[in-house]
Amino acid sequence: MLLRIEKMNVMYQAQVALDITEPFQIDEGDRIGVIGSNGAGKSTLIRALVGLKSYEGHVESHLRPQDMAVQMQFNQYPEGLTCKSIMERILGTQIRKDPKLQKLIQYFEFEECLSKRYSKLSGGQKQRFTIILVMMQEAPLTFYDEVTSGLDFETRGSLMQKLNEWYENRRDALLIVSHYYEELERLADKLLILDHGHVIAYGEKRRLFHRYCGRAVIVLEDTQKNQQLIGEEHRIAAPRQYLAVSPQTEAQELALVGRLVQENISFRRSECDIELLYMNAKKEYQEGVANVSK
């Protein structure tokens, strides 16, 4: 066990930013995706764990805040200096004498940026710069807070691919905050779902999907014809313009797929769609809260 949050309460003035009441833990090698809408408490959780925000409660861990590495959403460094100077200062090393650092610079294709000032870098280059510094820390637990936000599609894709490849055979635990579900589908094996500072769900991705969405889900376009065809039974929450059906058994699924093929209707099958998982977990949680308040 790397870290166990028994209880955590974070306030911003009179407002509750995070209120974790059910304990959960992060183990070595965990890849945890953190999802939730804006203001859910995702970044607050990271800030509290690395010691930037005080909290009430109890966190059990042998790790000190300085043993954790973190890529914040926005990372700023002293202006007017080259990336090389900043990098060497932060890491306390010299690039020409450090093969590990050279390898990372090469891996992230950052050689040409070393002589540039940090303020002159593009968004993707800035993120790669911090990722190199964070990876050099080789921390047992690393946080990535919206590492690809604000990047164009292509840069985002290539950056995530690099991250995926780098961590593929490593035992570091990662906690990745992202609004891009497809990134988490590739990187995360566990999910932590937050809503208004509360933990809605935490656990292994496939197990959570099974709990909130069923064994598999068929997703198709939301048209009147499709609505009539699939009926109301086994429908689960889905993004706008889509319908999602969760057949209970394999036989039911085969029958549904057969009808869709027969009617020449395009569909997608998923056993681990994070967006659907999130929507249905949130729906169940909100219904539970509404029932309690009644």
């Binding site: 690395v50 005080s54 002293p78 007017g80 306390g92």
Partner: protein, 259 residues
């Protein structure tokens, strides 16, 4: 990423690069005082014929305008760059890599002193080569150096306090600029000397050690002659107490924000 030694030459060099990358500091920390001193000395040399008197006057000009160096580099330069770091959460980012604010500040103080030593070396070398500065007595050099070091530390604390309280670049720049010009005006560095001040201005002026470093008899200390250090020491103590209170308020605010 913790690095064992808090103060190292490499860390100081990094801070020196940060200082040097600020064109404002280079401009107002070296070029401006040097240019101003040379212009004033040239004009004095053209007006007075007594060589000894001229050289004493030009030496005094160099000694008093030299106080602009720490005011520009430390009060303005440090306060503004620290405010930018607070505003952009650079200190926070660095702390996540294990670089504490204390470590940064300690290395920065030393870098400021190294930078100023370089500035004064250039300043006095040029002044000496132009023949504007009389050769000092060893005690005179020690006293002037001590005065500058104490002034620098006070201005550093003042700059740190202002930036920590203001927390924004714009506001810090404004407050530091007001204090910078206030010290210049009340110390008689803006063309009107202490003797020409009205009574109330003299009362304020006496509280600034720069006033005493700008008076015509300060050159006596430089030349090793007897000089009454009482008033300047009192002014230093007053400024120390004032900046100490400011630092206390700034730290209290910092703790409140962190909580």
């Amino acid at each position: 990423m913790s690095q064992s030694k808090i103060i190292t030459w490499r860390k100081i060099v990094f801070e020196l690069k940060t200082i040097g990358s600020n064109p404002f500091i280079n401009m107002f920390g070296i070029a401006f005082p040097l240019f101003l001193s040379c212009v004033i000395c040239r004009s004095i040399a053209g007006e007075v014929s007594d060589t000894q008197l001229v050289r004493e006057a030009t030496t005094q000009v160099f000694l008093s305008i030299g106080t602009i160096i720490p005011m520009a580099t430390v009060l303005m330069g440090y306060a503004v760059s620290h405010a930018i770091e607070i505003e952009k959460e650079i200190s926070e980012r660095m702390s996540l890599f294990g670089i504490s604010i204390i470590e940064t500040i300690l290395n920065r103080i030393l870098a400021q002193l190294v930078y100023m030593a370089g500035s004064f070396l250039i300043y006095f070398t040029v002044g000496g080569l132009c023949g504007y500065i009389l050769a000092p007595d060893v005690r005179g050099v020690i006293i002037y150096t001590l005065c500058i070091i104490v002034l620098t530390i006070i201005l550093f604390v003042l700059g740190h306090g202002i930036s920590t309280l203001c927390r924004k670049f714009g506001l810090t720049y404004f407050v530091a600029m007001v204090i910078y010009f206030a010290i210049m005006i009340f110390s008689g560095l803006m063309g009107i000397s202490y003797e020409q001040f009205p009574k109330w201005m003299r009362a304020v002026s006496k509280l600034s050690p720069v006033t005493y470093m700008n008076q015509s008899d300060y050159v006596k200390a430089w030349l090793g002659n007897s000089y009454n250090f009482g008033p300047i020491v009192q002014a230093f103590l007053f400024l120390m107490a004032l900046t100490g209170i400011l630092l206390f308020l700034a730290e209290r605010r910092e703790r409140r924000i962190s909580a």
